[in-house]
Amino acid sequence: MAGRRHDRNGESPALLRFSDVSLVRGGRLLFEGLSLAVGPGEALQVAGPNGSGKSSLLRLAAGLLRSSTGEVQRSGVALADDSLALDRELPLGKALAFWGGSVAPAMDALGIAHLSGVPVRLLSSGQQKRASLARVASSLAPLWLLDEPLNALDADGAERLAGLVQRHRDGGGAIIAASHQPLPGEWRILEIGR
């Protein structure tokens, strides 16, 4: 997906921009009049209670949902949500390689390099979470969308995630994470659904 970047009035080019966005799903208004911009190096946490529309906001940012009103502009994104999108019967290394990018360093960063030959269906839920984060990390997309990234991760996994997030930000990338719990590191917080 080629990035559409608009540089209006000398603003810095945002990797993601919501302009007055509202979203109705299943007849329920999840949010309205939402405007936000996420630029390079930024990390935004979308917080809110269960069912407040955090995941829907990420899917909107990914372009998988259409906003009811308003406009969403984005550059290339990578998404890690609760679906793994890796072939269960393949060894992890090959399953990740299907999506391309630099797989080996990403697996290394998440501490799953030694699982490269293990079929995806045999991974534990924590290992699967690391694998789906590795799929995002190996993509070249500047904007990462992470849905509940801490779910199923142990302390070591959370630490590795924090390091990965920091490196991505230092490299000029941006991250939006939806989570109902505090994330490691410094995050700008966006509360929805209150």
Binding site: A2, R59, G63, L64, L65, L79, S83, A85, F98
Partner: protein, 211 residues
């Protein structure tokens, strides 16, 4: 990406139970003489039609894993994020589905024709008609799979949807198997129309299933 997609789907098709639709195909051809009796003249007359019904069943069998597994597992979402249009994904799935069932089916038609007492020229005509008709059949199956993906009782619903839509293909396919040259041209036209239109129908269905 699309090339890799086709390669992946073909691999998955063959590591799964690729022989199952073919076994069904042969089973129907085997049951037919039992059902209508051993009259060779009668058998050879209904032979081509039987093979067409069997081909329809063989195409339908894997319908549940054509789209639904990838939708449920987020693969279709990830493809969209990487800029693959839903229509291209559907086209790749059609090519892969055809590759996994049609060549085997054309090969299985050989022993099936023996079981049904068809002669060489009838077999040749049927093989030609099947070769022309199966791309349309594969396209129709993928479109129906996309439309029913995620619905409860999707498999039986898919059958209800697929069989009526396959009627034109069946009519002209069976007619051209019987040596009707005009039927062959009409069958080719229908198969082409289905192959060209199905990716758009399937793509729209994949998009609609997201919201």
């Amino acid at each position: 990406m699309i090339g890799r997609m086709i390669q992946r789907d073909v691999r998955r098709g063959f590591t799964g139970a690729a022989w199952l639709p073919i076994a069904f195909f042969l089973l129907i051809a085997t049951l037919m003489p039992f059902a209508i009796g051993p009259d060779a003249a009668l058998l050879s007359r209904v032979g081509a039609g039987t093979l067409w019904i069997a081909a329809l069943t063989a195409a339908l069998l894997p319908i549940e894993r054509l789209i639904e597994t990838d939708r449920a597992d987020g693969v279709l979402d990830q493809l969209a994020l990487r800029g693959s249009a839903e229509e291209s994904v559907a086209a790749a799935k059609i090519v892969a589905h055809w590759l996994t069932f049609a060549p085997l089916l054309l090969a299985a038609a050989l022993p099936a024709s023996v079981l049904l007492g068809m002669d060489g020229s009838a077999l040749a005509r049927t093989e030609l008609a099947l070769a022309i008709g199966t791309p349309g059949l594969a396209a129709l199956t993928v479109a129906v799979a996309a439309i029913t993906a995620g619905l409860p009782r999707a498999a039986s619903l898919a059958g209800l949807l697929l069989f009526p839509l396959a009627v034109p293909l069946l009519i002209f396919g069976a007619a051209s198997s019987g040596g009707d040259h005009g039927g062959l041209l009409l069958e080719a036209a229908i198969s082409l129309l289905l192959t060209a239109g199905a990716p758009f129908a399937a793509g729209a269905a994949i998009r609609a299933a997201r919201s």
